[in-house]
Amino acid sequence: MSQCGVMVSLAALLASFYILHPAASAADPLSNENVTIDDSAINAIIEQPQQQQAPQIVPKLQDQLAKIPVSFAPGESKLANHKAIMCTVTNNTDHAVVVYGEKAVLVTPHADARAASQAEIDTIGQPPTHGMRLIASSVGSVALAATTVGMYQTLKGKRKEHKPVLQRYEYDEERRINEAEAFGQRLLYPGESTTGKLYFAVGESLANAWFLCPVAYFHEEANKAVVRVQFKLPEAAR
């Protein structure tokens, strides 16, 4: 009875070997049907089963920062009193990473500057919506229309007809374009790279500036770190 049970168990273990061996075989088993058994891998599993079942540790993002290279290029600034920087980030880690461009900080020898928020970027090219600016804008347009007997607005509309299609849609389309360009908050899957625009309210040279930007694993915001990179822009951009 007991011998039979042992035999059955041994047979099952043998069967498990068949199950195990593809795991240690070639990286792409689909491409090759003639799989060879990798004895060393099997032995490793057999000899150290407990080690294989040991808890897996997700690497701390702080230790992975070298795998998140960041580079810069000068960009065209649309926001008054702000410098625009095109920022490129690549995710060479094994995890999806969120880059919080909107929370980036520029540290210069003189002062720190936070990246312009989405709300600030959304104001680019937008008409005033309240307060004195709205009144001034309304009075201005009425005065212009009255003095030119409506010709200014008429000619402006006529000119717009000949502009590229997307420029005829004014405010909302402009906001969408600016928002798509802005770095904001982006999700990078492993191996992905992205480029976006960051605005900083700085006037001085960026020669010795440092760029600090928070990053976190997607779905694990607690496991976060800060990318710290020194600016290396062309002289003209400084």
């Binding site: 199950i19 701390k60 899957y189």
Partner: protein
């Protein structure tokens, strides 16, 4: 003894297989993710801590299936990127330039700020606000100023130069009540449109919520599809190994390959569905469409939006008190009722007060006796047409037709009525019939549900004043003040009376529409309530079904590996299990959407209630306190 052993052999074999699978478990993980398995953090792990997973017995039995099963789908976000070799598959790249994580609250807030339907509704509200001030403006006095110059040659012997300058201020005193009623009706309308904007916001909150949930569901389904692909890969690997060991046929390998291709195809379809869901959400939010939105939380477990067990009557009471579209229709009904009185106002006389300053001058060279034949200066003061704008026509005698004012307008077409002119001083009133002067500027009083052809008396207010022919040389200055009463009943008042009857019909229609809305609200709440309860039941059903499917899959895997079943049976079990996962994910999402729909239909939908839930008891308590 031997018989007993034989009887227990299959059971012993299964147990042995289980042990073998337990030993084989890490190997499965290696197959799926060559870079090493990435496990989910255990629930309640503190932030920043190394996330670990200690495989339980069940996980050991079923490979890492348990990691992705319904418990985790409901309660734990999966590290999506770690499931695949992303570099080779790029599941979400497609047409998008980059991905952006977005939470439900962010999406709702973004939608409230940028959604185009809300913006369009807001502009309608602004339009009706402006119209309200337009009608308030009718209470202000009307100002008109006219200047005219003329040169005449009489009998080739006498040359004359004449000029007339006139300023008139007219104060409306009584216009049949229509100025006041216009303002009141328009006030109802603008309030109604304000509520229409609120209703648009509520509709959009629900629409965004639904689209966000669809996106979450599609991501969950994508994960399930990914899992299917992984399982198919496992099976292929196993078959290849078995084939090498001589325990499987080439046909079985082909079958496994076919299954893998089928699952890959389903994965691709699901990727497209996921991207489409993201596009739908971006469109609803008025966001750049080249951004791929990814929900930052795929949790489905705690989807209770309406806490407690509210009864239908309580929900109906809340709905009747809070549905903005009910109030909106009520206001439109009131506006329509005021229109009836506006129609009646045409039957009343109008009274106004005026103040006019006139300066005329006449110079001549030649015979003074020729001046008696001078063409008279006519000033048609047809102003004070409040409903249609100011109609002012000036003319200089028979020699010239001079229309100085541009605001000549009339709702009824040509301004052919006779009016009187005022001259500098004394004498007989001049008749200034502007026969045939077509005044069709098209300036129509902006009104949506306004009465048809509701006019205000077209009094010149200058009847009976001292006027004079302009045939006396010299300069004359005059200042006149007076009261004007005008009562005109075009077509014997039949037009105004029938118009009032028509407006009464519209008013009744508005009342019926309000009633229809009330019925609609009750219908919606009752249907939503039933639906929400039914979907909750569906969750229980799908959960039970999934338990069975899970066990069936476990058994199929054990039997397959023990050589007691065919791959087709395992595939069937796998397919059933994955379907069960999908059904449960859909049931959970449907439940949330049903509750959100109920929230909207009882008028309690907001960013707060959609993200933090709603409790009728708490709401009542807050209301009592306030």
């Amino acid at each position: 003894m031997t018989i007993a052993l034989a009887g227990h052999r299959p059971l012993a074999t299964v147990l042995a297989m289980c042990l073998a699978l337990q030993a084989a478990y890490p190997a499965f993980a290696q197959v799926q993710n060559p870079a090493g398995p990435t496990y989910l953090p255990p629930a309640g792990s503190s932030p920043g801590e190394a996330s670990v997973l200690v495989p339980s017995t069940r996980q050991a039995l079923t490979g890492d299936m348990a990691i992705y099963d319904r418990d985790f789908i409901k309660s734990q976000p999966l590290k999506f990127g770690s499931l695949l070799n992303i570099a080779s598959m790029r599941p979400l790249a497609m047409d998008a330039d980059y991905s952006r994580p977005i939470s439900l609250k962010q999406a709702l807030q973004y939608g409230m700020d940028n959604n185009l339907s809300i913006k369009i509704s807001k502009e309608s509200e602004n339009y009706y606000n402006a119209l309200f001030y337009n009608y308030l403006g009718y209470f202000a006095p009307s100002l008109s100023s006219n200047t005219s110059f003329a040169h005449a040659n009489i009998n080739s012997a006498t040359n004359t130069s004449t000029s007339v300058f006139q300023n008139v201020i007219t104060f409306p005193l009584f216009t049949g009540g229509n100025h006041y009623l216009f303002a009141v009706a328009q006030n109802y309308r603008r309030k109604g449109w304000r509520l229409a904007t609120t209703a648009a916001r509520e509709d959009e909150l629900l629409a965004i919520y639904k689209k966000y949930m669809t996106l979450v569901l599609d991501h969950q389904l994508l994960r399930i599809r990914l899992k299917a692909v992984e399982l198919a890969k496992q099976q292929l690997d196993l078959k290849q190994a078995a084939f090498k060991a001589g325990t499987a046929t080439l046909y079985e390998i082909k079958l496994a390959k076919s299954q893998l291709e089928t699952d890959n195809q389903a994965l691709l379809t699901q990727q497209v569905a996921t991207r489409t869901a993201s596009l739908d959400l971006s469109y609803e939010l008025n966001m750049p469409l080249n951004v791929n939105l990814v929900p930052d939380n795929l949790e489905l477990g705690s989807g209770i939006l309406i806490r407690g067990k509210p009864q239908i009557n309580a929900l109906l009471k809340v709905a009747f008190e809070n549905r903005v579209d009910l109030k909106e229709y009520e206001l439109f009904r009131l506006a329509s009722a005021r229109d009836v009185q506006i129609g009646l106002s045409n039957l009343y006389p109008t009274v106004s007060m005026f103040l006019a300053y006139t300066r005329t001058s006449l110079n001549y060279q030649g015979n003074a006796s020729d001046l008696s034949g001078l063409a008279v200066t006519q000033i048609a003061q047809g102003g004070n047409n409040f409903a249609n704008g100011t109609a002012t026509n000036n003319a200089l005698g028979q020699t010239a037709n001079f229309s100085a004012a541009s605001g000549s307008s009339s709702s009824s077409g040509a301004n052919t009525s006779s009016s009187s002119s005022v001259a500098s001083a004394g004498g007989t009133p001049q008749s200034a019939v502007q026969a045939g002067t077509s005044v069709t500027s098209g300036a129509v009083a902006p009104s949506i549900i306004s009465p048809i052809a509701v006019g205000v008396g077209n009094s010149s207010n200058l009847n009976g004043t001292n006027t004079a022919t302009l045939n006396t040389p010299g300069v004359f200055n005059s200042l006149q003040a007076g009261l004007s009463l005008n009562w005109s009943l075009p077509s014997s008042g039949l037009v105004a009376a029938s118009n009032t009857v028509a407006l009464r019909t519209l008013s009744r229609r508005a009342l019926m529409q309000a009633n229809q809305k009330l019925q609609q609200v009750e219908n919606q709440v009752r249907a939503d309530y039933t639906n929400a309860l039914s979907v909750l039941g569906q969750i229980k059903y799908s959960s039970t079904l999934l338990d069975t499917n899970e066990e069936a899959l476990r058994m199929a895997m054990v039997k397959l590996n023990a050589g007691l079943s065919t791959p087709a049976e395992f595939d069937q079990a796998k397919s059933t299990y994955l379907d069960g996962l999908r059904t449960e994910a859909e049931a959970l999402i449907n439940s949330r959407v049903a509750q959100a729909q109920l929230l909207r239909d009882i008028g309690m939908i907001s960013i707060d209630t959609l993200t933090m839930g709603f409790s009728l008891d708490e709401s009542v308590r807050r209301k009592k306190k306030s």
